[in-house]
Symmetry: C2
Subunit: 103 residues, 2 copies
DNA sequence: TTCAATTGTTCAGAACTAGTGAACTATTGA
DNA sequence: TCAATAGTTCACTAGTTCTGAACAATTGAA
């Protein structure tokens, strides 16, 4: 399987971050990942259980390619964590401000 | 002609604001409107002169419907201004943080 | 080893959205 | 009355998103 793509810190763009977070489901995923202070599988981080997994997989790909999350394979599941340091280095306070308004 | 639609302050959503600002052209429009401290016509606020006017009109509609700008007719042109007070009331610091990172 | 269960990706088609030229409306000034 | 200007609306095309189905990888049990 092709390795999962993650942009380097410098390649994280404002437009990419904003459009990734503009989707309510993705914003809730990021919020729960940040609250967890730990890695979560895609299913654990999903905001509700009845989302088709192809849809969920797509949302995680968008978050990953925007540079918002880091995904590593661990056994059968993918562990996800928010790249807070990278986002904060690039756009200080942006992530906290936006996620703070997430329901 | 139908009057231009503007959402009330309470109807401004985070997702609407983020997806409106996720487009680089719209973000630049908002930034130049904020720097101007005055109303601007659509053409004045456009980031470059060769944008088709239907495209420009569409971007202004999206900004308007997201609650980011207030548009009023004045003679032959439309004067636009950012609804800073409304956005700040709804999502304090959000606008300034995002626009601060606009190129 | 083999098989089933679990987690997630990829593919393809349907539904939706965005960009744009052309036609249109409204206002102004000559 | 006519031309010029500023925007909107329409229709078409191109591209994106959502989703079910098929697939791949890992694990644990028989």
């Amino acid at each position: 399987m092709a390795p999962l793509f993650h942009p380097s810190r410098e390649d994280i763009t404002l437009a990419g971050v904003l459009s990734a977070l503009a989707d309510p489901m993705r914003l809730r995923i990021v919020k729960s990942l940040m609250q967890q202070n730990d890695c979560m599988s895609c299913i654990e981080a999903a905001p509700c259980p009845d989302i088709p997994k192809s849809t969920l997989s797509n949302h995680f790909r968008i978050l990953r390619e925007a540079g918002l999350i880091q995904t590593t394979k661990k056994g059968v599941e993918h562990r996800n964590v928010v790249r807070e340091a990278d986002i904060n280095a690039r756009f200080p306070k942006l992530l906290k401000t936006i996620v703070g308004y997430a329901e």
